[in-house]
Structure formats: structure tokens, C-alpha cells
């Protein structure tokens, strides 16, 4: 009896893991297929629609991004200063170190995760509602290819406005961190506002990440919306899928770019 129980104990979770893996693989395949369709439909992109989506992602997320990044910047500098004060006693590296961390890692990633929650959920809800109310089919009857009409403007809008909002979010976090460092720990302005640690490759990696996240979030969210089925419940599930899927995509791409940057620097 013991071996049977043990095998059930170990094999069932493994089997579940396998099924989850297969399911995940199918979802990734579907997103990549949608990405291929977006590439094929790029020539049909309409500038006005791209501009509207860029504004939707960028301008309308601005307040949310600014508020959250201000807190993030202040919290990170306070925590880093506390540690530095306790261990090395030198706070002069806080500013340049934080700047490098923001440019290379935190500004693109944290802003993209916020965009996944705000914009991604909105995209999935809008496209999901269109899907379950047959508006996507109605578009096809009007000779408007849903991918070029609905997805391409969102992806190109994300590609153009994500780097811009990342720059704004990063700048706000850096300034709020400077204020927290100055008034909380007495870090001098000239000591904090230095960019000495930032090298061109940091900027390149940060920009590539922002651009990749700008494509990934709308793409995954559009896929989630267009795969919605079954009324309001389906739209809700699509919204959840969009936020989770976009967030995972952002973190996965972050890891890939981080690893690639590390390898490139060593090489």
C-alpha cells in the first residue's frame, strides 16, 4: 500500500504540472501566432488609431505611473540608505547606484507591470466585450480585419509610448528618491544627482526592455480579449488572463534581456 500511496503522492502533482505545462505552451503558441498575424498586418496600420492607442497607454496611465513611481523611488532610497548607513556608512553611492538600477531594471519593469494592470486589463475587457457581443464578427463583415483594426494599433501604440512613459516614471522615481534621501538621510544634492554608474549599455538594455514590454503587454492583452467566450463571465476571465499573462511576459522578457545583457557585457 505504501508504494502506491507514495506514487500517487508524487505522480499526481507531476501529472498536474505536465498538464499545466502543456496548457501554458498552447497559450504561448496562440500569443505567438497572434504576433505573427500582427507582423503580417503591419502595412495596414492606421496612424490615427496608433496615436489614439499611444495616448491611451501613455497619457492616461501617466497619473497612476507618476504616483506609484514616486512612492517606489522614495521607499527604495530610504531602504537602501538605511542599509548603507548601517553597513558601510557611506551614502554617496546611493544616487548613482539607484540611477543605474532604475535605467537598467526597475523603471521599465515596474512601469510595465503597472501598465499591464491598467492598460492590459482595459484592452482585454474592451476586446473581450467586442468578442462576446459578436462585434468582432461584425467588423469582419465590414471588411475590417480585426487584427489590423484592433490589435496592430494597440501593439504599435505600446511600442511608441511605453519607452516614453518609462522615462517619465524613472525620472519621477529618481527625483522622489533624491528628496527622500536628502530630507531623511542628509544626502547632498550633488552627491545624489550623479549619473557616473550609468553606461551606454545600461541605457540600451533599458530602452530595449521598454520597447519589448510595450509590444508584449498589448499583444498578450489583445489575445486574452479576443479569446474571451461566454458573456460577462468570459470577459472577466479574459481580463484576469490579460493581467496575469502580461505580467508573466514582462518578467520573462526582463529575465531574458537581463541575461542577454550580462552575457553581452562579459563577451
Amino acid at each position: 500500500m505504501v508504494p502506491i500511496s507514495a506514487s500517487v503522492f508524487f505522480l499526481r502533482p507531476l501529472a498536474s504540472l505536465g498538464r499545466w505545462g502543456q496548457w501554458g505552451g498552447r497559450q504561448v503558441q496562440a500569443v505567438l501566432r497572434l504576433g505573427g498575424a500582427v507582423l503580417r498586418n503591419l502595412p495596414h496600420a492606421e496612424p490615427a488609431a496608433i496615436w489614439q492607442q499611444a495616448r491611451d497607454l501613455g497619457n492616461r496611465s501617466m497619473f497612476f505611473v507618476v504616483v506609484v513611481m514616486a512612492f517606489v523611488g522614495a521607499i527604495m532610497v530610504v531602504q537602501a540608505s538605511m542599509q548603507a548607513q548601517r553597513i558601510v556608512g557611506d551614502l554617496s553611492i546611493i544616487g548613482p547606484g539607484f540611477m543605474q538600477l532604475l535605467v537598467r531594471e526597475f523603471a521599465p519593469t515596474i512601469v510595465a507591470l503597472m501598465i499591464a494592470a491598467r492598460y492590459g486589463a482595459g484592452v482585454a475587457a474592451a476586446l473581450g466585450a467586442m468578442q462576446v457581443t459578436e462585434q468582432v464578427d461584425a467588423l469582419r463583415l465590414c471588411s475590417a480585419e480585426p487584427i489590423s483594426y484592433l490589435v496592430v494599433p494597440r501593439v504599435l501604440g505600446g511600442l511608441t509610448s511605453m519607452p516614453a512613459i518609462v522615462v517619465v516614471g524613472g525620472a519621477v522615481a529618481f527625483v522622489s528618491g533624491g528628496l527622500a534621501g536628502h530630507f531623511g538621510f542628509g544626502i547632498g544634492w550633488t552627491s545624489y544627482f550623479r549619473t557616473g554608474f550609468v553606461v551606454p549599455s545600461d541605457v540600451a538594455i533599458g530602452f530595449c526592455k521598454a520597447a519589448a514590454f510595450g509590444v508584449a503587454v498589448p499583444l498578450v492583452s489583445s489575445w486574452a480579449g479576443l479569446s474571451a467566450r461566454g458573456g460577462a463571465r468570459g470577459v472577466g476571465q479574459a481580463t484576469t488572463r490579460a493581467v496575469i499573462g502580461s505580467s508573466v511576459a514582462v518578467l520573462f522578457l526582463d529575465l531574458v534581456f537581463g541575461a542577454a545583457g550580462y552575457v553581452a557585457q562579459r563577451w
Binding site: 457581443t133 459578436e134 462585434q135 464578427d137 461584425a138 469582419r140 463583415l141 465590414c142 471588411s143 475590417a144 480585419e145
Partner: protein, 253 residues
């Protein structure tokens, strides 16, 4: 309806979703210029069947021809000319909420005929005028009642002067007055423009007042195919049960 030159022909159509069979060999013909009802219980696949004609659903097997052209296996791009000639009015009207009524009607003209929105709007205004709905042009769909939304959806479908119109439950969710107005609109469109109308419906009153022919689907098969008078007089237990269940809405069935 057997005819020498039918407008649409479904032959041995098989459709299954996730392994569950919806149609297991449906064959029927739709006569040119007729108002052809497709009836059956909910979930029998009536809407699915008409969506195959315009490539919104793809059958697993069988043949479907529109005006002699085989549509099974066509690519998305190859369906565009078919959709120009055969439009569809969806159950929930499916107007685009961010566009005015005029732009909703203009959109298929601009897209299909590759003309500017200004030209398309002019044509759309004429279509709305012909349906006595020009005054709705500047309104947003959300400000219209269900009957008017349906009227605008029909106007949008007519904007391209199609040869055929597919109506998915056109009177569902409408009050009796709006439902009968929609029936009259379908009939007038068929007579005035010679449009072939395929109407998916449960509404026996509609069938009685405007139907030329009825195909009744049951258990994935065509169960009855004939004129409405024969349908209402049928002794087949399945048809009889359907007619009797709906008789309260018709009154004298």
C-alpha cells in the same frame, strides 16, 4: 426548397465544436429572393449554420455554395467579396458604440469599396433615408432603443446593396410592436430590393406574417423543409411540439 437555380445550397454540412456534433449532415437550399426561415430549438445550431455562409464559422465537412460559388475552404481574404454580397444582421445588433449611427452605416461602405469616409457618409445618409431613419444619423447607438438599434443594423447591412441578408434572431428581445416593424422591414427589403433573406428565429408570428419557406433543424439534421402553412399543419411530433409551445405567442396556431 428545391430549385433549378438556388441562391444558397448547403450540402451534407457537418460541424462539431470540441468533439460535440452540432450538425451531422444538414442539406438545404434557399431560393433567390425568398424570405427563408431557419427554425429549431435553442442550441440546435441555427446561427452556426448561417455563419458558415460568410466564413465566421468553418464546417468540418460538406459543401456550401453562394450563387454557385463554393465557400467552404475559402481564405479570410477570399471571403471579402462574398461578405460584400451577403451581409448579416447579428442578434444583438452589434453596432460600434464609439461611432455615430451614420458612421456605423458608412463603415462597411468605406471599407469594402475603399472610398473616403466623406463619400461613405453621403451614401450612408441615403440608406438611412430609405429606411426613414435619417434623423438618427448623429446619435450614438447607446442612445437608441433595441428596435431602433436593429433598424440601424439592418441599414448597415443594406449599405452595400447586398444580394442576400442573414438575420440572426431579428425579433428576439424586441417588444411586439418593434418586432412586427422589424418583420415588415425584412419583407419590404426582400420585395423592394429583391434581397434573399435568411431568418434564424423562434418567432412563429414572424414566420406566419413574412415567411416564404421554413427549414426546421432538430438533433443536427434537417427535420422539416417546406412552406409555413405545411409547417403549422405538420403532424410530426417534434414540429408539432415546437409549434404548440410557441402557439401562445401566435394566438391562433
Amino acid at each position: 426548397m428545391a430549385s433549378a437555380n438556388p441562391h444558397m445550397v448547403f450540402s451534407d454540412v457537418h460541424i462539431a465544436f470540441a468533439g460535440k456534433s452540432v450538425h451531422a449532415g444538414v442539406s438545404l437550399q434557399v431560393q433567390r429572393g425568398s424570405v427563408h426561415f431557419i427554425m429549431g430549438q435553442s442550441g440546435v445550431g441555427k446561427s452556426v449554420l448561417i455563419k458558415t455562409l460568410v466564413g465566421l464559422v468553418h464546417p468540418d465537412r460538406g459543401s456550401i455554395t453562394f450563387d454557385g460559388t463554393e465557400v467552404v475552404g475559402l481564405s479570410e481574404a477570399a471571403f471579402f467579396p462574398i461578405r460584400r454580397r451577403c451581409q448579416m444582421v447579428f442578434q444583438q445588433a452589434t453596432l460600434f458604440g464609439s461611432l455615430s449611427v451614420l458612421d456605423n452605416v458608412a463603415m462597411p461602405i468605406a471599407r469594402h469599396e475603399q472610398v473616403s469616409m466623406a463619400v461613405a457618409r453621403q451614401r450612408a445618409a441615403e440608406v438611412l433615408e430609405s429606411l426613414h431613419a435619417r434623423h438618427l444619423g448623429e446619435r450614438l447607438p447607446a442612445t437608441l432603443g433595441p428596435g431602433l438599434r436593429k433598424q440601424v443594423a439592418i441599414a448597415r447591412a443594406l449599405a452595400l446593396n447586398p444580394e442576400a441578408l442573414l438575420y440572426d434572431e431579428p425579433t428576439t428581445g424586441l417588444d411586439p410592436i418593434a418586432a412586427r416593424r422589424t418583420d415588415r422591414l425584412i419583407r419590404e427589403t426582400s420585395i423592394r430590393l429583391g434581397v434573399t433573406s435568411v431568418v434564424v428565429s423562434h418567432d412563429l408570428q414572424s414566420l406566419l406574417s413574412i415567411g416564404d419557406w421554413v427549414s426546421f433543424l432538430h438533433a443536427g439534421q434537417l427535420h422539416f423543409d417546406g412552406p409555413p402553412a405545411k409547417f403549422f399543419a405538420a403532424t410530426d411530433p417534434v414540429v408539432r411540439a415546437f409549434v404548440q409551445a410557441g402557439s401562445s405567442s401566435v394566438g391562433h396556431c
